[in-house]
């Protein structure tokens, strides 16, 4: 990854851990709040982070999310060693989902997660294969409020 991040932190995401799912995203949101990002950036990161985290919990068999705060963007790199996404174009379509009945009962499986990530990011790369799992690189442009004058 080019350049040096101002701040970096990796969070572990556990497989099928619905009880604690979303915790990494809440922590990321709190960090960005402390750093002083404006709320529109924080909200976009929160949406992208949550959806990516839930997909790792439900389909990826666990993994991790790395937060990197750069001078003009926030990067989220979300990785799992799961089965990969066979057809990314199809997965990106709103409404497409392979969620189980159990997941659907909990309100997951609307097939809106990846479209939500796309809509809330400035750049989204999905690298996926059956051998190496899935990696999302999500970039959200920003500037840290209050530090522009420095």
């Amino acid at each position: 990854m080019p350049g040096k991040a101002l701040f970096q932190k990796t969070f572990t995401i556990k497989k099928d851990d619905f009880a604690n799912a979303g915790e990494a995203s809440v922590q990321i949101k709190n960090i960005l709040k402390d750093v002083g990002f404006d709320s529109s950036v924080i909200r976009r990161v929160a949406v992208a982070s949550y959806e990516a985290e839930m997909n790792v919990v439900m389909y990826g068999g666990g993994g991790n999310v790395r937060l990197a705060v750069n001078p003009d963007n926030v990067m989220l790199v979300v990785e799992d060693k799961g089965p990969g996404i066979p057809d990314v174009d199809q997965a990106m379509q709103e409404g497409f989902s392979t969620a189980t009945d159990e997941m659907r009962e909990m309100g997951f499986g609307a097939g809106m997660g990846l479209p939500n990530i796309k809509r809330n990011s400035d750049d989204l790369k999905i690298i996926t294969s059956p051998d190496s799992g899935t990696r999302l690189e999500i970039c959200i442009r920003s500037s840290v409020s209050g530090t522009e004058e420095n």
């Binding site: 809440v26 949406v47 309100g107 609307a110 939500n116």
Partner: protein, 113 residues
């Protein structure tokens, strides 16, 4: 309108997060699909749902919602209560179904936004 006033008007029971009852409610949203809420809810809205599992608190926290109203007399999970207390997210409950809950809110002047 403050969430505490809404709770009083509709007879909602406070299950958790009483410290957040002072929040001003900017609107309402009815959905049982988490990605729908994550994608379309805006900060300050009151979320009406029949979902009662732990994850609803993360959704409300991330979206900075005013609170969650659990409908149909469903019992929210003990874990969700614990998380809501920690995050200061009010969880309220009612015997009413979603339609009536939303209708009553609308009558109080709480629109979509």
């Amino acid at each position: 309108m403050k969430l505490s006033d809404i709770a009083a008007e509709l007879g909602l029971k406070v299950e958790a997060g009483a410290q957040g009852l002072d929040a001003e409610v900017t609107g309402g949203y009815v959905s049982d699909l988490l990605s729908d809420v994550i994608g379309n809810c805006t900060a300050g809205q009151l979320w009406i749902t029949l979902q009662v599992h732990d994850n609803i608190v993360a959704v409300a926290t991330l979206k900075e919602l005013a609170g969650i109203v659990i409908i149909n007399g469903k019992q929210v999970s003990a874990n969700a209560v614990e998380k809501a207390e920690a995050e200061g997210i009010p969880i309220l409950s009612t015997q009413l179904p979603a339609y009536e809950t939303a209708g009553r809110l609308y009558q109080l002047g709480i629109g979509a936004d």
